[in-house]
């Protein structure tokens, strides 16, 4: 039976070329869109690692005043004054590489034969409480760290799993701008944004006397009055005497950054959705016509003893066979991506994208085949043969 159907398909191959091109292209388009969306959604699913609700941030631009002693004093004074406000539960500083700031500090080092690519950030003693960081191993910085022999660092879990998957990372000393000792591991730290890929992050202690512009991070208590922002603005202005700054709400910034990812996903999704729907409609039209055209053949099969079910099965088999050929052709192109390594992503992502694309194409084709195949099964042998 199958051989018979294959012969039939082979003899009709010329008529199927357009259909195959169309389905292959549709698969490739779906594959790229699924790849893009899955990549983003995988990143989106890993937790940020810090809170955004009730958190405000202000990157301060210090005066180009060379007197660093006065700056240190101003920074300390600012923390003090802000802690007076009852709505504020915690305040702290980090260096300019802070959540959603857009700043990055990358470095790579070779340590004991390891080549490490890491991103550096710096934060002070209270940063874990202010941002709600989750320390999973070891501890966050404490006062003793300021005078420790080795520079203390906290790393994220991704980095710990990448370099010390089987043993503990705590207490290890690595060469990273001098010798640094790992004192703690936090679980996630996606400071570039919710849709960004998690990187290996090393957080060091942000020294009070640092020349870098500080980022002020403020955690407010639940149900605070938003007009408090004006008071905070005034306090910063008065205390710092002319440092430039702008207060940002971390939650709105999170949403704002996400828009840049949602828009292309929604646009690409709807464009490909439209293309696929278009293909489905076309397919449906062509199939309905084919059934009409082949009434004679169907009538003959019925007259020779085929039951309605086998007629519609035959029809569905033919279409699924064509679809499989199209998908195989498209897979040949799609598979070049993981083979050539065009993008630096996990192979499993490609496989999932292929799987979902195939799933969509098959289900679409099946849906488009249902009505025409029922029609085919309904063909009455006598009338069909009479027409012929």
């Amino acid at each position: 039976m199958i051989k018979h159907l294959l012969t039939l398909i082979w003899n009709r191959k010329k008529r199927s070329v357009l259909l195959i091109i169309e389905l292959s292209l549709a698969f490739l388009i779906l594959f790229s869109v699924f790849g893009f969306v899955l990549y983003n959604m995988d990143n989106y699913k890993t937790p940020l690692g810090f809170d955004t609700e009730n958190i405000w941030m202000a990157s301060l631009r210090m005066n180009s005043d060379p007197d660093s002693a006065e700056r240190v004093e101003t920074k300390a004074l600012l923390l003090q004054s802000l802690r007076q406000i009852p709505e504020i539960s915690e305040v702290s500083y980090s260096n300019p590489v802070s959540p959603f700031s857009g700043s990055t500090w990358q470095t790579s080092t070779i340590d004991n034969g390891f080549e490490m690519d890491v991103e550096l950030a710096a934060a002070d003693l209270n940063n874990d409480k202010t941002l709600g960081l989750n320390v999973v191993e070891g501890r966050w910085f404490n006062k003793e760290d300021k005078s420790a022999k080795y520079r203390p660092i906290v790393i994220n879990k991704k980095m710990r799993m990448a370099y010390w998957p089987d043993s503990t990372a705590i207490g290890r000393i690595i060469k990273l701008n001098g010798e640094s000792k790992i004192v703690g591991v936090i679980d996630n730290y996606k400071y570039h944004g919710e849709f960004s890929e998690e990187k290996n992050v090393v957080i060091s202690l942000f020294a009070e006397h640092s020349d870098q512009n500080p980022t002020l991070i403020i955690r407010l208590k639940d149900g605070f009055d938003p007009t408090i922002e004006q008071d905070i603005n005034r306090i910063i202005q008065q205390t710092t005497k002319g440092w430039k700054f702008s207060i940002e709400n971390l939650e709105s910034k999170r949403k704002f950054l996400n828009v840049d990812y949602w828009i292309p996903m929604v646009v690409l999704g709807s464009i490909s959705g439209f293309l696929i729907f278009n293909v489905a409609l076309g397919l449906f039209g062509v199939l309905v016509y084919n059934i009409k055209k082949r009434r004679g053949e169907i009538g003959l099969r019925r007259a020779l003893g085929a039951n309605p079910k086998s007629i519609s099965n035959q029809f569905i088999f033919e279409i699924l066979f064509l679809t499989s050929i199209s998908i195989l052709i498209a897979l040949f192109f799609a598979i070049q991506f993981p083979i050539m390594g065009f993008f630096d992503v996990d192979t499993s992502l490609y496989i999932r994208a292929m799987f979902y694309s195939a799933l969509v194409i098959y289900s679409l084709v099946l849906i488009c085949t249902i009505y025409p195949s029922i029609q085919a099964a309904r063909v009455h042998p006598a009338t069909a043969l009479h027409e012929e």
Binding site: L25, I29, F245, I263, F274, N278, G282
Partner: protein, 444 residues
């Protein structure tokens, strides 16, 4: 003949509702998306106020200092010479760039070197400023600022609602003045009709409003701002900073767009003579004036040579666009082939009564063009609705997409091409059917 084609086209469309629906659906949505994309590109890169002279503009938006050192290494190969193994060593000398620092330009580097470029009609230096938090009526606005010089208002033709640009004199006098945009006016002054002479308080300082600019579609950061302040308000230590990196960018209006090559060459010559700070290890300076589309492409697809970025960008865009048009075209061809084969009896009869191949191909292509035209009109309406939705939902921030005549013309041309191509192939195939076979198909 023509009238007859039209009549038949409409009759065929009306009688084959399902095929007509499928075709129109594909055509109109394809065109809707095309027009929206064209409108987007046109809004961002097209020549409309305030960048009407965009074709003649060149920008310096990036300065790089690099450390390039000569790296020499030996490669050794063992080769057989006359049956004896010999060691063949090659000395490789290459330039290695192992440190780069890139940012906007400093005021001093622009001020000292690029005020007298040839082929230039006008130029302006400007700097992105801070974001000001402004509290008014218990709500906060974050206002973006940009520091500009007097020529800025000549290079860019901003649409003013009230007042106008400030003069060179007021800039030199460091007057406390500001030009704001319409959004800021509405947010800060509410229902106030006239705001000229009113004051805005930024970080405790009072600025007098001397002009209000209207909204425009483009969202390029060098023109899109809430506050336009005289650059002389930037502290002098920043303006005098001798480093080449800073927060300034420059725009030049060329005499003719073709002069860009000359300007690029001249800039290249000039930077050879600019000394780099001695205390740093950098030894190479890179500054290249770019057109807007080069700069835009470079920001999306990074390549050191911006013209390559632009070239890749064009390739990728046309590739995507091609794919996007290709699929609906194949779909339409597929539908048309089916639709035309269904009419084989008609083809047979027409041929028997004297229609030649040209007549038949003409008829079917014409039918398809009519169909695409209807689809084009629906697509146009849909595109206008979509643009309206995008603009009113503000998903693109305050960027407004414009719908220009040129967008319509391009889309119209694409529509026609779409119609002709997707009609021609099936028509050609059909016209090749032998009459005897066409007549055999029993559909009365």
């Amino acid at each position: 003949m023509f009238k007859n084609y039209i009549k038949l086209a409409f009759k065929v469309l009306a009688r084959r509702k399902f095929f007509t629906f499928i075709s129109l659906f594909g055509i109109s949505l394809t065109l809707m998306i095309l027009m929206t994309i064209t409108a987007f590109i046109d809004s961002e890169l097209g020549a409309h106020p305030p960048i009407s002279d965009i074709d003649k503009m060149a920008f310096i938006n990036e300065v790089s200092k690099k450390r390039i050192r000569i790296d020499s290494s030996y490669t050794r190969d063992t080769t057989l010479v006359n049956g004896v193994s010999k060691i063949d060593s090659t000395l490789n000398v290459r330039e290695v760039n192992d440190m780069t620092s890139t940012s906007s330009a400093s005021f001093s580097v622009l001020d000292k070197n690029f005020r007298k470029l040839p082929y230039i009609e006008n130029y302006s230096f400007f700097s992105y400023g801070q974001v000001y938090d402004v509290f008014k009526n218990n709500s906060k606005f974050a206002l973006k600022s940009i520091y500009v010089d007097a020529a800025y208002w000549q290079v860019f033709d901003f649409p003013f609602l009230e007042g106008g640009p400030y003069s060179k004199q007021s800039i030199q006098n460091q007057e406390q003045i500001v030009i704001i945009n319409k959004k800021t006016k509405e947010a800060y002054f509410g229902d106030l009709e006239q705001v000229l002479g009113e004051e805005i308080i930024l970080d405790g300082k009072h600025y007098q409003v001397v002009g209000v600019v209207d909204d425009f579609g483009n969202s390029r950061p060098f023109i899109k701002s809430d506050l336009y302040l005289p650059y002389t308000h930037i502290p002098s230590d920043i303006l005098n900073n001798p480093d080449v990196l800073g927060s300034f960018e420059a725009v030049f209006t060329l005499e003719k767009s073709s002069r860009i090559k000359g300007v690029k060459a001249e800039v290249k010559r000039i930077i050879g003579g600019i000394p780099l700070p001695a205390d740093q290890e950098f030894n190479t300076l890179e500054i290249a004036p770019l057109t807007l589309s080069e700069a835009y492409s470079k920001s999306l697809i990074y390549n050191e040579d911006a013209s390559k970025s632009q070239w890749y960008m064009i390739l990728i865009l046309s590739g995507l666009l091609g794919l996007f048009i290709f699929l609906p075209t194949i779909n339409l061809i597929n539908i048309n082939v089916t639709r035309i084969l269904e009419r084989s009896s008609e083809i047979g009869a027409r041929k028997a009564f004297g229609a030649n191949r040209t007549n038949l191909v003409g008829q079917f292509v014409f039918e398809n063009v009519i169909l695409t035209l209807i689809g084009g009109i629906i697509g146009l309406i849909l595109a206008l609705i979509l643009l309206n939705i995008i603009n009113s939902s503000e998903v693109l921030g305050d960027g407004k997409l414009l719908f220009q005549g040129s967008t319509f013309v391009y889309s119209f041309l694409i529509t026609m091409l779409f119609g002709i191509v997707s009609g021609l192939i099936p028509a050609w195939r059909m016209s090749k059917i032998h009459i005897v076979n066409a007549l055999k198909e029993n559909v009365s």
